[in-house]
Symmetry: C2
Subunit: 212 residues, 2 copies
């Protein structure tokens, strides 16, 4: 839906400068980077930032909506791969790689931003596809049968922490942690789990808790 009035040329230009600046700032310093730093990097005043994006979530939406859509596209691609387990691993590896390359993306994995509507919409779509990746890998017999989509949230949260901690010191270290985790997710490794899985709305509330 193109907005009622198009932006004036200079405003449009500033909007793009801001999105570029926000992209790199979020990537380097996470979603909590000061908005004034984004304005400075874009070479505009803080007032202009607020003119274009009334709140942080609007900026996050502008930067990340397509990133999350790309994650969904990755998921779609994975569903076409011949080996379901390989697809499952391929998907997790790529998501973690993106986490490692972009601290903002990594933050998004652990937080809902309710006002970032396009991002959240894309996320919802991505979850549906991830559910299919999980189910397919389970049906193939390679992924343990007792885990759920919500359990993947654990994996991704934990992975995000490892990525953050080791990013500057050993940028590829997360691969080792992921490999350990994957060994625990293989069907032959499965021992009975001590707790029932999170219900979907519990997982949602867990993310909403850290919402902003």
């Amino acid at each position: 839906m193109p907005s009622a009035r198009p932006l004036r040329r200079d405003a449009q230009r500033n909007r793009e400068l801001l999105i570029d600046a926000a992209r790199t700032a979020f990537a380097e310093r996470g979603l909590d980077v000061p908005l004034e730093e984004i304005a400075r990097r874009a070479g505009v005043s803080i007032g202009t930032l607020y003119n274009r994006f009334p709140h942080r979530a609007a900026l996050i939406d502008a930067v990340f909506a397509d990133r999350i859509t790309a994650t969904a596209a990755l998921a779609e691609h994975v569903l076409t791969m011949a080996d379901a387990w390989e697809g499952f691993v391929f998907f997790l590896e790529h998501v973690c790689e993106w986490q490692a390359a972009d601290r903002g993306y990594s933050d998004l994995a652990a937080r809902h931003i309710p006002e970032a509507t396009a991002t959240e919409e894309a996320r919802r779509h991505g979850y549906a596809l991830m559910q299919r990746i999980v189910t397919r890998a389970q049906e193939s017999g390679a992924l343990r049968a007792d885990i759920t989509l919500e359990d993947l949230a654990f994996v991704i949260w934990g992975q995000a922490r490892t990525v953050e901690a080791t990013h500057d010191v050993a940028p590829r270290a997360w691969r080792r942690h992921l490999a350990l985790m994957l060994d625990g997710l293989r069907a032959p490794a499965a021992h009975p789990l001590p707790e029932p899985p999170l219900r979907p709305e519990e997982a949602a509330r867990a993310m909403r808790g850290r919402c902003d």
Copy 2:
């Protein structure tokens, strides 16, 4: 080492009130809780807090040094258990339980606080014991041979994130994540790991990065 002069009675009392207040405040809100909140909970002024504890790390030290010593004691106990793998699991479960019960303890797992000298000293001792727990479990054949003490840091960092996220929503959910992780740590589950382990000083730097 008793200090040169003992504190005046009222000062001693305030010191204890502050430690008690800090203990619960750290537990509920983590190590970054505002110092003014601790003073308020203790019923003393912010000035008094600074008189007793010149910086946050001194307060952390007063609250957590014995907590970390208790962790080391747990480790010692585990080394006397008959089954090395059971001991390894027992240790991790208890550490995670403490993480779940105390957000400050959980923060400490991911951060060095160089000025908190007693805490850091106790930590160092704890690490040495953990190394023995790992080695013993590996020698028993139950724990995969290719992991190191530093890899446990991944496990504990990731676990901390899960504990935080699910604490209010499903306080026992972390047990499920830990169980998945443990299944990846059993020797029969092992597939070759893609990266070399962190060197100890890399792990130390990873923690120093998030230091304060």
